[in-house]
């Protein structure tokens, strides 16, 4: 074995990979959330669909997205390998065990929380990511008046007929800027109009909050990063930003859309 292979197969090295992939995934959540906040805009999904197109067609982001898929797989596979190894280190479990006396609930249940998140990611990507790429989504045409930005004409283009492509141009005859885009927004609204889907998302976001409450600060420790000057900041971010604010903001999206569809 080379020095690198030895390093990564050690108990410390395996957790280094967990920490690096985990923190990368945490960082992605911020970008993902900023994008998803477009869903709160009352513009028939124009901003959100533009964002979706940008995320799938801008080359640097495409490259990062492959890194991201690899991180999810690595994080899950290493979690399994580490868990099996750790279970083997204690084959006979204690008859009476008081884990709450010395550790947080999250830290002892990362595997269960992670499994919930993995199932969620499969459903989530199947519903949006897969449909966006290969699901034959309908296109919508947005016509913005150049003189009055709030004057937008929205036309749902028919699915039948010639295959459409994403287009942005200015129609000089009508004096309007035209955007033809794949309408992922419609899929999002349709999904979140069903209650069980909203419940699934909210539960998953609660699981994510608990997972990150331990995971964010633990990730830094796995890299060996531990400093009295920065640790309080990391713990604060892990608890408030990644444990509460980000999951709550994500969970607010399906709830908001569900409530707005109720009124229609």
């Amino acid at each position: 074995m080379s020095s690198f292979t030895k390093a990564f197969s050690s108990t410390l090295g395996k957790k280094l990979i967990m920490g690096l992939t985990g923190l990368f995934l945490s960082l992605f959540l911020i970008v993902h959330l900023i994008g998803n906040l477009q869903l709160f805009k009352d513009d028939a999904g124009k901003a959100f669909n533009e964002y979706s197109y940008f995320m799938t067609h801008f080359l640097p982001i495409k490259i990062i997205s492959y890194l991201l898929y690899a991180s999810i797989v690595l994080h899950a596979v290493y979690a399994l390998v580490i868990t099996i190894h750790n279970k083997k280190a204690r084959p006979v479990s204690y008859a009476s065990y008081n884990g709450a006396a010395n550790s947080t609930w999250s830290s002892r249940n990362m595997g269960i929380l992670g499994t919930i998140l993995l199932i969620f990611i499969v459903i989530h990507m199947g519903n949006f990511w897969f449909k966006y790429h290969w699901g034959g989504l309908p296109y919508t045409q947005y016509e913005m008046s150049l003189s009055n930005p709030s004057d937008v004409k929205v036309t749902n283009l028919p699915i039948s007929g010639e295959p459409l492509i994403h287009a942005e141009y200015v129609n000089t005859q009508t004096g309007r800027e035209v955007l033809v885009a794949k309408d992922l927004y419609q899929v999002v609204v349709f999904s979140f109009s069903s209650l069980w889907y909203v419940v699934l998302y909210v539960i998953s976001m609660i699981a994510m909050g608990f997972h990150l409450y331990h995971g964010f600060q633990s990730g830094f420790q796995s890299l060996g990063f531990d400093h009295t000057k920065y640790k309080p900041a990391i713990n604060w971010l892990g608890t408030w930003l990644f444990g509460i604010i980000i999951p709550a903001a994500f969970a607010a999206i399906p709830i908001y859309i569900y409530i707005t569809t109720l009124n229609q």
Binding site: S3, F4, K6, A7, S10, T11, L12, G13, K14, K15, L16, I82, H85, N86, K88, A89, R90, P91, V92, S93, Y94, A95, S96, Y97, N98, G99, A101, N102, S103, T104, S107, R108, M110, H214, Q217, S218, Q221, S222, L223, G224, F225, D226
Partner: protein, 252 residues
């Protein structure tokens, strides 16, 4: 005090073992936990039964010999003490106390509540030392060491190798012990020449003994009778990654 004890009894390493319930009557609240077991054992000997086997030596919290996983926690419910320093006043009259040995693949049960902790010795032998003779007494302050560093090294050096960190950890990880033994030398000038070789060989031995990995639950530092902190584990990680990824170990 009258107590009910649920004690793990196991004849030898290959025996399956199981819990046996004993009555511990007329216990003084001022007895230490080990003295309470002595009383129970005296009764067993009088009855002609095999006494409960448990590790103990100094009985003043410095040798690290006593163990016992009491009611789901190593060294019982109190913080920063060993089992010999735990007094029966920490329990209530009529309570049922479950007593188990340390549970880890790397700590096989010898008999009843005593486990074989020689895995720790082998980790120490893999590099937890300085390979030069100490020589005569040096002049004071010949090698300057900043006070916080000296204090931190001393904190790491207070580890008594009891194994409570392994017992407390849900992964039976020995990292608090190993990192304390690495830190006490890595922080001081005398430990520098072998610093990066030491961390690699001791971590390799730790993994070879079959201990689990650290998932940063922090249970070890809470249960450590000497209050050794998780900072040691993070320092070990830094040294290990530095050694593996950045240090030149051979002549070019």
């Amino acid at each position: 005090m009258n107590l009910t004890l649920k004690v793990w009894r196991q004849r030898n390493a290959s025996d399956k073992g199981g819990f046996v319930t004993y009555k511990a009557d007329g216990i003084s609240p001022d007895m230490s936990f080990l003295e309470m077991l002595d009383v129970v054992n005296e009764g067993l000997v009088k009855k002609g039964e095999d006494p409960i086997h448990f590790d103990h030596d100094c009985r003043e919290g410095i040798c690290g010999m006593c163990s016992l996983y009491i009611n789901g926690r190593p060294h019982g419910p109190k913080r920063a003490i060993t089992t010999c320093q735990l007094h029966m006043r920490s329990f209530s009259d009529g309570e049922t106390i479950t007593i188990e040995p340390w549970r880890a693949t790397a700590f096989p049960v010898i008999k009843d509540l005593a486990v074989d902790r020689s895995a720790f010795d082998r980790i120490q032998q893999a590099g937890g030392y300085i390979s030069v003779n100490t020589g005569g007494v040096p002049d004071a302050n010949e090698i300057p060491v900043p006070k916080p560093i000296a204090d931190e090294a001393f904190n790491s050096a207070t580890c008594i190798q009891c194994g409570a960190c392994v017992a407390a950890c849900k992964n039976a990880s020995a990292m608090l012990f190993v990192s304390a033994k690495i830190s006490q030398l890595a922080l001081l000038p005398q430990g520098q020449p072998e610093r990066y070789r030491r961390v690699q060989s001791m971590v390799a031995q730790m993994d070879a003994e079959g201990f689990g990995g650290c998932t940063n639950t922090g249970a070890c530092e809470i249960e450590c009778p000497k209050e050794i902190s998780m900072t040691n584990i993070n320092r070990m990680r830094r040294d290990y990654f530095t050694a593996k990824f950045f240090k030149e170990e051979e002549i070019r």
